[in-house]
Symmetry: C2
Subunit: 320 residues, 2 copies
């Protein structure tokens, strides 16, 4: 059993901690319930902020003396004879140190690394390093692990035709659904509609989520994991104007032909069968429909996708 | 329309490029179809490897001279009067530069940043910086955007009871399903089973995927997006031994009571209704079942989740 909150708990606690400004950095940062903003920690130049998980966070951008500090002095401040922040934090029972380093101050990364710090993540103009001081292996939460790609199965019920492409880049030219990677912060359905339009020129709207694929150590994801989602879209334009750079071919294919062809991927073949099943016996049999709801703790909204409930189950007492 | 392959194409092309060693770095690295391993690029100390997207990749760990190189000389090699790698790459029509920097050589990050490089990502003991040389905004693929959390709805059909917890960390103590964040490379179902056991002591096995939630700028995900998946699990142990640090309460609750209670989250309430619907009318009505398949291009395996097809649709000719 973990000593630090993890998983579901960890997510919720961080949510509270961060919304309460516990990770906000400098002394006097806006606080909240349980906020330890008036408890600076660490020796010499290195003021840290405690978080409620027993960690301490140092934001170099907010240290007055950082511009006077050279890498050797920084290393001494972390672990030297006169000033020894790490030993002090350890003696105070801190379990982890977080270093937030602006990219132009990256001269401090190597000295920290030589003391055992490693990258937690970096993006754009800053990096975050961590050092685990607790017992056993680190129990700090990781960073994002998955890229998300979305394909659109654009099906025209009137003609029973489905929009398919052959990628220019593939070794074998197999029929598949147009799609691509989500942009940061982009909803699943929006990615499907955008990528379909970019690749084929077809305008469509989101109907449902049909299938999810998970793959790990993905070469196209810089070795991270890949989540690939296929949505059902309804077209409202029909003239193909496909991207010559991305696609070799693009056409409206009879759904039964896509079901029968060998010249496609296993996932495309399965989703084609799903669509035929849904077309014949009702899309409610295959659709995961979407609903937008407010998050309980963060005040944000989220989208949830699942098999739509019959009305009799929706209206049971106790439904929020 | 993008000039560089993006989205679906981009994923596939990178897959090929990387599997063909196009990003592998040094001259003479194992190559493959279209591999440009014998086309070093850049000036002075900075040998780069071209990739088939028109980018050039420099791996500092593999440069003989890197230990003799100080940050000022490095900056000059990138953009100086005598040696000017960036200008040379630009004049050669390269659209992007990738810098792969071991953490102990991070003294080279700030000089690169002062020339416009920024972090693409960093993990553990190395960082990767990019500089876009092409026209318009960068069209380079991003890094992982989502963390993935999984909860287990452990339902005992014999007693009609469902396993629920109240997190110790929450502001309100609402009943929910045990769950937590996926470890890197961990399959969805394995996360559900592991987290359920860690939180409650209950042993279970994966049955199906029931719902997916997507949320952006998630405080518990360091500002990245969050994908939260709820699975249906079948218990094969029943004595609760819950984690006191994570959970305030844990119990087997009658499913109809969870459907009725106000003291739960919207997503838990909906999934409780789904389970009641599935229990009464067949779980095939709500389940996304899993299938493992070989990937077409990477040689890896993936797992795909969708509504199970009736046999008549599975056995249609043309099924791979």
């Amino acid at each position: 059993m973990p000593q630090l909150p993890r998983g579901g708990c960890w997510r919720a606690v961080i949510t509270r901690a961060r919304s309460a400004g516990l990770f906000a950095g400098p002394r006097g940062a806006s606080g909240g319930p349980g906020c330890t903003r008036d408890a600076p920690s660490g020796a010499g130049e290195l003021r840290g902020e405690l978080d409620r998980f027993g960690g301490v966070s140092v934001r170099l951008a907010r240290l007055d003396a950082v511009h006077r500090l050279d890498p050797v002095a920084f290393q001494r401040a972390l672990q030297g004879k006169c000033a020894a922040a790490i030993q002090k934090w350890r003696s105070e029972g801190r379990v982890a140190v977080w270093l937030h380093i602006p990219i132009l101050q990256s001269r401090f990364i190597a000295p920290a690394a030589s003391l055992g710090f490693c990258f937690h993540h970096a993006e754009s103009d800053s990096s975050t390093l961590t050092l685990w001081l607790g017992e056993g292996p680190s129990r700090l939460p990781g960073y994002a692990t998955h890229q998300v790609g979305v394909a659109g199965a654009v099906f025209d019920e009137n003609t029973r035709k489905i929009l398919v492409v052959q990628d220019r880049s593939k070794l074998k030219n197999m029929w598949k659904f147009p799609g691509g990677l989500s942009e940061p912060g982009e909803d699943i359905g929006d990615t499907a509609v955008r990528e379909v339009f970019e690749e084929t020129g077809i305008k469509s709207e989101f109907r449902s989520l049909l299938s999810i694929r998970q793959q790990h150590t993905h070469p196209g994801a810089f070795g991270k994991s890949d989540m690939y989602i296929i949505c059902r879209l309804k077209p409202y334009s029909f003239t193909i104007n496909f991207c010559q750079r991305e696609c070799l071919r693009c056409e409206w294919m009879d759904l039964s032909d896509l079901v029968k062809t060998e010249n496609t991927t296993p996932i495309t073949s399965r989703v084609a069968r799903l669509l035929l099943y849904g077309y014949r016996e009702g899309f409610d049999k295959i659709d995961l429909t979407v609903e937008e709801l407010p998050a309980v703790y963060t005040g944000l909204f989220y989208k949830i996708y699942h098999k739509e409930l019959p009305d009799s189950y929706k209206t049971m007492t106790g439904m929020d």
